[in-house]
């Protein structure tokens, strides 16, 4: 799926969280969306799959296109859009269900038959490299998993819906280095099959993933390009300052 954001602005009341953001992520591409805390990354991801819609006091202008079709065209239903574009929230707890129940949740909503649900759960847990750790206790409560496991569970939960695009909102924040590198390689590995957006506040992570990168500061895209290019030389130190200093060093 090709995902295009055109001139998107978003307001919480009078506060403008996004200012005329435009970007395109092609089929099979991974884009890193980097920005300091509060720069609007989560808002942008939520606008893409229409999770930001309908909250009283908010306003959105501009468009988000999936394969050229406007997600907010008259009469467009947000539910199928969310099934096509998965979103993994930053540091969210699991649903109050078993491990199996969490991953099966999405497919079950669509009335998928039991066999297929089981297949998808296994497939998604394998893809999130969690299967080996949980295979023997699928029916235990998901809250008993460790933080890193819960984060991979969140990815598996989104994958089980079989979305065409996946938005990962700071999926490694607060995790230990082993889990960080696991999730980074997961994301890099998935790029061939899915359109991916990976939001992060960590310049080192931008460098490690080494993909097309867009830098978001105070709701505006201020830099874009290949990770290696925008992190090199004097431009690189400015970008690092933006990410670490929250944009105040501008």
């Amino acid at each position: 799926m090709t995902l295009a954001v055109c001139n998107l602005s978003f307001y919480y009341g009078r506060r403008r969280a996004l200012n005329r953001v435009s970007l395109v992520v092609g089929r099979g591409e991974l884009m890193v969306l980097a920005g300091p805390g509060g720069s609007g990354k989560s808002t942008l991801l939520r606008c893409i799959n229409r999770m930001a819609d309908g909250v009283p006091g908010t306003r959105l202008t501009g468009r988000v296109l999936l394969d050229g079709r406007d997600t907010r065209a008259r009469g467009a239903d947000p539910v199928p859009i969310r099934r096509r574009v998965g979103l993994v929230f930053a540091g969210a707890p699991p649903l109050p269900l078993s491990i199996y129940g969490n991953v099966a949740y999405g497919p079950q909503l669509q009335g998928t038959d039991r066999r297929e649900v089981e297949r998808r759960v296994r497939h998604a847990l394998e893809a999130a490299s969690l299967w080996d750790e949980v295979a023997g206790r699928l029916h235990d409560p998901a809250v008993e998993l460790s933080g890193g496991q819960q984060q991979r569970l969140a990815i598996a939960r989104a994958l089980a819906v079989e979305p065409e695009a996946l938005l990962l909102d700071e999926p490694t924040s607060g995790l230990d280095p082993l889990n960080v590198s696991r999730i980074e390689s997961l994301a890099v590995g998935m790029r061939r099959e899915k359109t991916l957006v990976f939001a992060t506040a960590d310049p080192e992570q931008v460098a490690r993933i080494g993909a097309a990168t867009a830098i978001l500061v105070r709701g505006e895209l201020v830099e874009r390009g290949d990770a290696a290019d925008i992190l090199a030389g004097p431009r690189g130190s400015r970008v690092r300052d933006l990410l670490i200093g929250g944009g105040d060093g501008r």
């Binding site: 799959n49 999770m51 009283p56 539910v79 199928p80 969310r82 099934r83 998965g86 979103l87 929230f89 969210a92 707890p93 649903l95 109050p96 078993s98 949740y105 999405g106 909503l109 669509q110 029916h139 235990d140 409560p141 939960r157 989104a158 819906v161």
Partner: protein, 279 residues
């Protein structure tokens, strides 16, 4: 003594006063009432207008009137709570519904009785009956059901709703799969509170379910609930031992219901976890 310690002592004293008041009341009722409760008391009908014999018809009547009230009030009340908590934008409509529920809660029960009498008993021709009493009580307990259900629905973490929507759930799927299961224990304890209130209600039921001592055979038969029975016995004044027996039974059943409401959700949760492990 420092002000701090003085305050602590005063607070502790008020707590103890509450406990003492409850213990005294319960003790009084149970000491005077328990001796009257035996097999016959529970399993036979009254003789000599209740001065002798048992209270089986009233026990059945109380359960029936309370059950009808719950069956009628829970769907409407929980539905209203879901609407208010999940769908309604804060505005005139939601405010009007809340105001109505609050006003309903403030109406004295004898007024409910009069209203139920003129609407259900007379106008709709249901007569003095379990159905009339249940309908009247349903109106009375509606605010309790709405308030407790809305509170427990709002207490479900917002992130659970967001996770559900992000996985492609419709609003209604989120309500039935995430919100209601999370709110269920609170809704259940609200139901117990309401059931306790309907068991203890006298004025509203006397006008609508009647005072018949005969065992009810259908929802359209009149029934004398335990509290009405207690009231009439106590007013007569010459069957006080029986009256206390009824009071003790009433107190014990209300305690049992609220105890069950606290235990049931925990038992259900424990059972679910075990069942899942066993799969």
């Amino acid at each position: 003594m420092s002000v701090d310690r003085l305050a602590l002592a005063a607070l502790r004293a008020s707590g103890l006063l509450v406990a003492a008041g409850l213990l005294f009341l319960l003790g009084q009722v149970l000491i005077r009432g328990l001796p009257a409760i035996d097999r016959d008391f529970l399993l036979t009908g009254p003789r000599a207008m209740g001065r002798a014999g048992g209270v089986l018809p009233s026990l059945v009547g109380t359960a029936a009137v309370g059950g009808v009230a719950l069956v009628l009030a829970v769907p409407v009340g929980v539905g209203t709570a879901i609407y208010l908590a999940e769908y309604a934008r804060e505005g005139p409509a939601a405010a009007a519904i809340r105001l109505a529920a609050e006003a309903l809660a403030g109406v004295p029960s004898v007024v409910f009785g009069l209203f139920g009498f003129s609407l259900f008993v007379i106008r709709l021709g249901l007569g003095w009956s379990i159905l009339s009493g249940g309908l009247t009580l349903a109106l009375m307990i509606l605010p309790t059901i709405i308030r407790t259900a809305e509170e427990s629905i709002r207490a479900v973490p917002q992130i659970h709703r967001e996770l559900s929507s992000a996985l492609g759930a419709t609003g209604w799927q989120t309500v039935t799969r995430v919100v209601l299961p999370g709110a269920w224990p609170g809704i259940l304890s609200g139901m117990a509170l309401a059931l306790g209130r309907s068991a203890g209600e006298t004025a509203a039921v006397m006008f609508t379910a009647g005072t018949s001592l005969r065992p009810p055979r259908s929802l359209l038969d009149p029934a004398r609930t335990l509290s009405v029975h207690f009231y009439l016995l106590a007013r007569e004044g010459h069957a006080l031992d029986r009256a206390y027996g009824v009071a003790a039974l009433l107190v014990l059943s209300v305690l049992a219901v609220s105890g069950a409401a606290r235990l049931l959700p925990r038992l259900a949760a424990g059972h679910r976890a075990v069942a899942k492990r066993d799969q």
